[in-house]
Symmetry: C2
Subunit: 242 residues, 2 copies
Amino acid sequence: MIYQLYYWPGIQGRGEFVRLALEEAGAEYLDVAKDSGGEEQAVRKLQALLNDPRIPRPAFAVPALKAGELVIAQTANILMFLGAHHGLAPTDEAGRLWTHQLQLTVADWVVEIHDTHHPLGPTEYYQDQKQEARKRTASFLKRRLPKFMDYFEKVLKQNPSGDQFLVGSTLTYPDLSLFQIIEGLRYAFPRNQSRIEPNYPKVVALHERVLKRPHIAAYLASGRRIPFNEEGLFRHYPELDG
Amino acid sequence: MIYQLYYWPGIQGRGEFVRLALEEAGAEYLDVAKDSGGEEQAVRKLQALLNDPRIPRPAFAVPALKAGELVIAQTANILMFLGAHHGLAPTDEAGRLWTHQLQLTVADWVVEIHDTHHPLGPTEYYQDQKQEARKRTASFLKRRLPKFMDYFEKVLKQNPSGDQFLVGSTLTYPDLSLFQIIEGLRYAFPRNQSRIEPNYPKVVALHERVLKRPHIAAYLASGRRIPFNEEGLFRHYPELDG
């Protein structure tokens, strides 16, 4: 089966968490964001999917993954599906729930990262909320970011199977997402990251470990990965970098 | 098995989504928030759970549910577990994913509702972000709230099994959560809700339908439900109600 990934063109955004899982799995997929008809055509295809009145299970937003007859939305939900079908999650119930719990914590973190540049909400431009973004980012970098970093360092430390991966002794989908978070934070807040990362050696080592996975390394070298930019989730505004 | 629910005392918060599922399921549970040792003792128990260095699978935050040996955190994850064990979700993969997708969309909505009174983040007081809260709430009520309401109305309308429930023809866990969202919005923004709800007859009817479920009605009449207040997720600040 060839999957179809529906996500906005031009940004990594939440779609990138899905792409990393598809790439690691070596799954075949058509990326609608890279539609041969260009970005306008890609957006038309997304809107057709989101607004189709005949779809019995409509998505609120993208990313969405078409897998045969299924249309699955919500990043963490898509990853749970891919995890089960491509060996990126344990098969026992306790392990599946724990893996998903970690992913949902990543999802909460993603919202807080997004809100650093959009504290007044997703419908206003950054330029219209710069002052508020400065306040929110200061609070995020001081209080919330260390809380999330501490947590994932602790999960690695307390993993009874060792500190190589978040769950058990093999890679699962939240490892890929944690890699992406570190990539994004380094892009958005380079000064702050270089200051705090020495406190989180296990998280940093996990990022390195994922970076070297053959499929991930090939993807990053391929030129297919959309560069970070100031339209996406992780944005580099020097005035916000603590 | 008697479950143990860990959540902050004194507020409904995210714990209430779990309580509603436990109540509907008729499951036996100990509510740590109602610990016989009082609120201080409850908080000590939460902190012991969150900070225990011997726990192999630590939670980032509560709610958390102890189910025998398992400690499950993240509201949507707990609900997925309860849904599978208490007939509050379909058993086929496509149905399980769709149910969870709806719950994750509710979770996104919950974050945006919380952010109306905390646009500068969870670590600052409302009193220190009143002006920003006013801006964020105006944008939420005008743009985001109708988008979420439209979506759930559409899900009910497009459900091939009829408009009585979100998934298929029986109650599932996101129905309970949508009920709670409507309850909370009516508490927080009574003027705005009374103006917009006539546009969403199916969502309003679903709320009524859940309200009349025998177990839910008994729970609401029992006095065990913590009242809404200005420490929780849904807060009534008249200056924010459009």
